[in-house]
């Protein structure tokens, strides 16, 4: 759509601008201020320069947390995106199945995140949980509170349970927007199922899929509540992702300076990745 240039449109944006600015700018400025200072409580601060940044950048704890975070996000995307597309492709297109599928699939999205954690905790406990008990019954030595591998397995399974539906819903919407004529044309040409997917469905879903990847990246990169309730970052530090480590540092140990420095580094990484995604999305938009 060709838009008219109108600087007065800024007036429409003012409410949003003010609300978000208050919520984002003031806290962000505060974090910047803290990251250069040492706190002594009672609003007493002392200038520390770049010490905290250096400390965080060189600390093994940060490297480990970042490594775990990247691994987690990568695995999540690798599982959820193909799975989501697959389910969306097999979902019914009309009839009573549509609302049933949509309602049931949206369920996990609307459960408070700590309830998700608690739910998976009791679901996976080896003695009383269905998952833990069944796995042990068929011969696996499964205990997510003791073994790091099992903790990872449970956390990933939980996230797949929790968020795959979002990818499904978005892909389904993308698929629904395809005109039946495209499919008829494909049928006349005798296109295989794969060719139909590759040349008709996938291009049409490109935009929603970028959105899905972007949303899933952002949310899994800042995941906090669910693993915190499920494993508490444990056993040891096995599932201590960036946010968990950050909150531990800021509110558990009250190391405001290092925590603020870590927040900023964290934020820069997220900002960079999202800018790349956003640019790619805009590039698509301009072309289409």
């Amino acid at each position: 759509m060709n838009k008219t240039i109108n600087q007065k449109a800024w007036f429409f944006v003012v409410p949003v601008f003010v609300l978000v600015a208050f919520n984002a700018a003031i806290p962000l400025m505060t974090v910047v201020n803290y990251s250069f200072q040492e706190t002594f409580g009672n609003n007493v601060f002392a200038w520390e320069g770049t010490r905290w940044f250096k400390q965080i950048l060189l600390s093994e704890r940060f490297h480990d947390a970042l490594g775990r975070q990247i691994a987690f996000t990568f695995i999540i995307l690798l599982i959820q995106i193909p799975l989501g597309i697959g389910i969306a492709l097999t979902m019914p297109k009309k009839g009573w199945g549509v609302p049933v599928c949509l309602i049931l699939m949206s369920m996990p999205l609307l459960i408070p995140w700590n309830v998700v954690g608690a739910m998976w905790n009791i679901f996976a406990l080896p003695d009383i949980g269905f998952l833990g008990y069944s796995l042990n019954a068929i011969g696996f030595d499964f205990n997510f509170t003791q073994q790091p591998g099992d903790a990872w397995f449970t956390t990933i399974l939980m996230d797949v349970w929790h968020w795959t539906s979002l990818v499904v819903l978005l892909s389904y919407a993308g698929l629904n927007s395809i005109q039946p004529a495209y499919y008829q044309a494909a049928e006349i040409d005798g296109a295989s199922r794969w060719a139909t997917f590759r040349y008709i469905e996938l291009p049409k879903m490109k935009k929603v899929l970028t959105l899905a990847i972007l949303l899933r990246f952002m949310d899994s990169f800042m995941i906090y509540t669910e693993p915190f309730v499920l494993t508490g970052g444990g056993p040891g530090n096995a599932t201590a992702f960036l946010s968990i480590d950050l909150v531990k540092m800021a509110l558990g140990q009250f190391d405001l300076g290092p925590a603020a420095a870590m927040s900023l580094i964290y934020f820069f990484i997220v900002l960079l990745v999202c800018w790349v995604f956003y640019s790619l999305m805009m590039k698509n938009e301009v072309r289409s």
Binding site: V13, L19, A24, M107, V115, I128, L246, S263
Partner: protein, 266 residues
């Protein structure tokens, strides 16, 4: 192959329902049964856990608080986002793309980064432990989302609609409220759904910004778990009840989800 297509969504839905069933199953068990035996359904069926929640005000007020700030937030977010999304979808103005991206960065910012300054900010303006504080803080990620979704819906409405209305002598306000908003009603519905959803499920900020008066149910749950031992049955009952508002909201927007998503960002 086509014959077994229904298997995939069915298996997926079963996978989704299992933990939920387990939670509900637990909520009807007594604490001793939970700890001592493994059973697929409650042997001694009890509603004690639910009775406790509905009679104890520290429990049921948690629900009232959560719903209050969630509704506030949904209203604020959508009301603020409507004109902004209209501006983004219809006009070009200085810095529009950067503003849009800046809004989006706030959706991306990890709440853990903001928890501490939020606490101090809302304390200093006397809003700590109020519903409005939580509602406002959730605007951080809900307004960008609302603007984004609404902008998608509005861009799908041809501009000729606006122009015809002006030719017919409608004022901007009359056009916006009488014609434009009904046209994108589905979009508003889906936006409200998302705002409700993200405000309802968020815990970190809600917990940081409240103490007693506006404490969300999710926080009540974690606190009870840590003070009075692990009362799994009670926890499970409270958890099961948090699913209900979500289920109701989905029921209302069920027709919009499919249609709405399709119209939205495609």
């Amino acid at each position: 192959m086509k014959k077994y297509k229904w298997l995939v969504p069915t298996l997926y839905i079963i996978f989704l329902m299992l933990p939920i069933y387990w939670l509900i199953n637990m909520s009807f068990k007594t604490t001793t049964e939970i700890i001592n035996t493994y059973s697929l359904w409650p042997r001694e069926f009890t509603t004690e856990n639910y009775v406790k929640i509905f009679t104890d005000s520290t429990w049921y007020m948690g629900y009232v608080n959560s719903i209050t700030y969630t509704v506030f937030n949904t209203i604020i977010s959508v009301a603020a986002a409507l004109p902004a999304a209209y501006a983004f979808s219809r006009y070009k103005f200085l810095g529009d793309k950067h503003l849009f991206f800046w809004l989006l960065t706030n959706r991306m910012a990890p709440p853990a980064v903001f928890a501490l300054p939020f606490f101090q900010f809302y304390s200093s303006v006397n809003l700590f432990d109020t519903h409005i504080a939580v509602a406002l803080s959730h605007c951080l990620f809900n307004i960008p989302l609302a603007v984004w979704i609404l902008e998608g819906f509005m861009s799908a409405v041809p501009k000729e609609l606006d122009e015809t209305a002006y030719v017919d002598g409608y004022s901007f306000n009359r056009f916006f409220f009488k014609i434009f908003i009904p046209t994108i009603a589905a979009g508003i519905g889906i936006t409200m759904f998302f705002c409700f959803m993200f405000s309802w499920v968020e815990l970190l900020l809600a917990k940081t910004l409240t103490a007693t008066e506006a404490k969300p149910i999710a926080a009540t749950m974690t606190r009870t778990a840590s003070t009075s031992g692990y009362e799994l049955g009670l926890l499970a009952a409270a958890g099961s009840l948090t699913i209900i508002p979500g289920a109701i909201v989905i029921y209302f927007v069920r027709n919009y989800i499919a249609k709405g998503f399709a119209m939205g960002r495609v």
